[in-house]
């Protein structure tokens, strides 16, 4: 595949009456990891949500082209089934639904949307265990209710498991590293690196250079007040770690 997997052109987005994204441009080619850094409240999560089709936010102008299709009018599940996955900054709890059952349900929905038969129970169990093993998640965790009573770090690991199971084309990680301990960060980033191939890409939102050191993104973008104000290489992360976002205002 060639060209860009994702292209965002002059995107303006409102939350209620307030404009949050103010003319954002961003392109992500296939087989690349891009990172976004930016101060609290600059619009990083709003961007992730808009890309995922969250109707809480209104796109007032601009384009989001994903896999050569303008996805602004699409529903979240339609976008998801095109192959976009967002790991939530704050994953929600769903009482009574086990992680295993949730994985099975979303995996089946995803395959169905793409014209594939669902896996049989034992094949699926094998598939999930394989992915869970990469992340050091055991069967006990699979039996627990989705995110109910999970620690912050456990929730993030959970998000990563769903990511591995769905194996999407574009992955957005919204501060998936926040809350992970040092070892977990290693495990999760190894999992992500292992997933990367020529047909997918990643957009990683983070506040920490540490994750970026592990993922070595092709590009780092600085998001301030609803716009990408600078894009560059790994050195940008270092600059921010040392001086903060002061110089970008």
């Amino acid at each position: 595949m060639s060209g860009n997997l994702l292209e965002i052109n002059d995107l303006h987005v409102n939350a209620g009456e307030k404009e949050i994204l103010k003319g954002l441009n961003l392109s992500i080619p296939f087989n690349e990891i891009h990172a976004i850094m930016g101060p609290n409240g600059s619009g990083k999560s709003v961007l992730s949500n808009v890309l995922s089709g969250n109707e809480d936010y209104k796109v007032t102008s601009g384009q989001i082209i994903f896999k050569n299709e303008n996805i602004i009018e699409l529903k979240p599940n339609e976008i998801s089934n095109l192959g976009l996955f967002m790991a939530f900054q704050y994953p929600v709890e769903i009482p009574g639904v086990t992680l295993m059952n949730f994985l099975k349900t979303i995996h089946e929905a995803n395959r169905k949307a793409n014209g594939l038969e669902k896996l049989g129970p034992s094949d699926f169990l094998k598939y999930v265990r394989e992915k869970a093993k990469i992340l050091g998640i055991n069967d006990e965790v699979l039996k627990r209710q989705l995110n109910v009573g999970f620690s912050g770090g456990e929730k993030k690991r959970n998000e990563t498991l769903q990511l591995l199971v769905l194996d999407p084309v574009l992955t957005i990680l919204d501060e998936t590293d926040s809350g992970l301990d040092v070892d977990a960060l290693d495990i999760v980033s190894d999992g992500i690196v292992g997933m990367k191939n020529e047909e997918n890409s990643f957009l990683v939102i983070t506040h920490y250079k540490k994750l970026l050191d592990k993922l070595s993104p092709s590009k780092i973008h600085i998001l301030v007040d609803g716009r990408i104000v600078e894009s560059g290489g790994q050195d940008l992360a270092e600059k921010i770690e040392n001086n903060g976002f002061e110089s970008f205002n």
């Binding site: 599940n77 979303i106 995803n110 769905l166």
Partner: protein, 482 residues
């Protein structure tokens, strides 16, 4: 009806066509309306002994003096009890030895309902006693049950074959003076199931009955009696569906359970009668009296129910905890959508010492429906060291529906405790978006979340029922959002 009914003669009864009974393709109706003659007709048709006819007539006299209860939250147009048929049976009710003898048209109806009898037969270890309209048509696995001395047959058959057991237990849990609907049932009940488990026997299979309502405008008055003798165990499954229909249908069933010393009864219901259309037109009116009597020490009765159907549901499966150390459980899921009205719950009456009861109620409301949990826990002065735990959770899917929890609790013994917890919640936008982001559409997402909400109760159902029930939750919530 074109002929006026006066006093029917012996001859009239033997020739229903003469008598003016309607014979719609498959059914024989008693004439519309209720009077002593209709009761005599029903009893006669079923070749019942005199004592049973007398009991029916006594019930009818009591019913005439009773008033339809109005304490529930249900609102429905006045029911004209004279405008209902009280008896309908498939053509001739000869004894059928196997399902092959059943009219293929009936089998076809089952197939349309998605629960083909044949498949039920294949379900290993499940004996099926099919009730079509009011009369049982076929019973399978009877032989196997017989080996263990288990009796599982239609109520009418039991009246003939085991009159002494019927006479001993009928009306001892739900007396024929109990309430308006139960008393009506006692007067006109058509058929139902009968189960007797002998002492010390663990029933070798789950017993299952499928109830159907089919003939237009026919009231349904099922009567079920289940007796678990000392130290026996039985799990009984009851499931119901009804075809689409415009007219309101009256249904007033009675279920009586008796658990003797050390016996355990598990009674599970999946109920999905026609709830009416999305504008509130049509649907079944369901007024049921279900009660279990833990008559012996160390006995146990548990009710598990998944209710998704009926326009009106009035139903309070209860336990009388008479024996010392006896225990009662009630696990319920009540789903209401569109204009359905549910007023349901349970009663736990603690009489014996060290009795325990546990109530888990999950109400899911959607559309413009109303869903009331009404529960009563009573601890008698002599009921020492007894305990009740009640948990009522409601989940609201739309802004128009309502959920109400009305617990009545009374403890007259200081050594006993009653605990009550209640929650009310909505599916959050965040939960929905989360599921959608993972590729589920809105209906799939809601079904998943609702299934999670109901899990505690679903787990109490026997395996094959749990799967069916889960599907049912999904179907009944279709179109509840968006």
């Amino acid at each position: 009806m074109n002929k006026k009914i006066n006093k029917p003669t012996e001859e009239n009864f033997n020739n229903p066509y003469e008598f003016g009974f309607e014979t719609e393709i498959e059914s024989v109706f008693a004439p519309k309306g209720l009077n002593e003659d209709v009761i005599r007709f029903i009893s006669d048709k079923k070749e019942e002994p005199k004592w049973l006819l007398d009991w029916r007539l006594d019930s009818y006299k009591r019913w005439l003096k009773m008033k339809e209860p109005n304490w529930s939250s249900l609102r429905y147009p006045k029911i004209d009890y004279q405008d209902t048929y009280y008896f309908s049976a498939p053509k001739e009710t000869e004894k059928l030895k196997s399902l092959d003898e059943v009219d293929p048209k009936l089998i076809e109806t089952y197939n349309k309902l998605g629960i083909p009898l044949k498949e039920q037969e294949w379900l290993a270890g499940v004996a099926v006693d099919a009730v079509f309209d009011s009369v049982s048509l076929g019973t399978t696995f009877k032989e196997k049950l017989k080996e263990d001395g288990v009796i599982f047959c239609s109520f009418s058959e039991a009246v003939k074959e085991h009159p002494e057991i019927i006479k001993k237990y009928l009306g001892t849990v739900v007396p024929n003076s109990d309430n308006f609907f139960a008393t009506l049932n006692s007067a006109v009940f058509s058929d139902g199931s009968f189960v007797y488990i002998p002492p010390g026997v663990t029933c070798p299979m789950e017993l299952s009955t499928y109830f159907r309502i089919n003939a237009a405008g026919t009231g349904q008055f099922e009567r079920t009696l289940l007796i678990a003798d000392e130290d026996s165990y039985v799990s009984y499954l009851e499931g119901c569906t009804a075809p689409m229909r415009d007219e309101h249908q009256l249904h007033a069933a009675v279920v009586e359970l008796v658990a003797l010393k050390g016996a355990e009864i598990k009674y599970s219901t999946v109920q999905n009668w026609y709830p009416g259309d999305e504008n509130g037109k049509g649907g079944v009116y369901n007024f049921v009296t279900k009660r279990g009597d833990c008559r012996g020490d160390n006995s146990k009765i548990s009710w598990t129910q998944v209710e998704t159907g009926s326009a009106i549901t009035w139903k309070y499966p209860s336990c009388i905890l008479k024996g010392d150390n006896s225990s009662g459980e009630f696990h319920s899921i009540a789903i209401s959508n569109n204009y359905q009205q549910v007023d349901s719950g349970t009663k736990m009456l603690h009489l014996g010492k060290n009795t325990k009861s546990r109530i888990i109620s999950k109400g899911v409301s959607s559309g413009s429906s109303s869903n009331t949990y009404r529960g009563q826990v009573n601890i008698h002065p002599k009921s020492e060291n007894s305990r009740n735990f009640t948990q009522c959770d409601s989940l609201l899917l739309t802004g128009n529906c309502s959920a109400t929890t009305i617990p009545y609790v009374e403890s007259k013994n200081k050594t006993s405790t009653i605990e009550h917890e209640a929650t009310s919640s909505k599916i959050s936008e965040d939960q929905l978006f989360y599921c959608l982001q993972r590729g589920l559409n809105e209906e799939e997402a809601i079904a998943l979340i609702v299934n999670g909400f109901c899990k505690e109760v679903l787990q109490k159902l026997p395996m094959e029922f749990a799967v069916e029930a889960q599907k049912l939750l999904e179907i009944s919530l279709e179109g509840s959002v968006g």
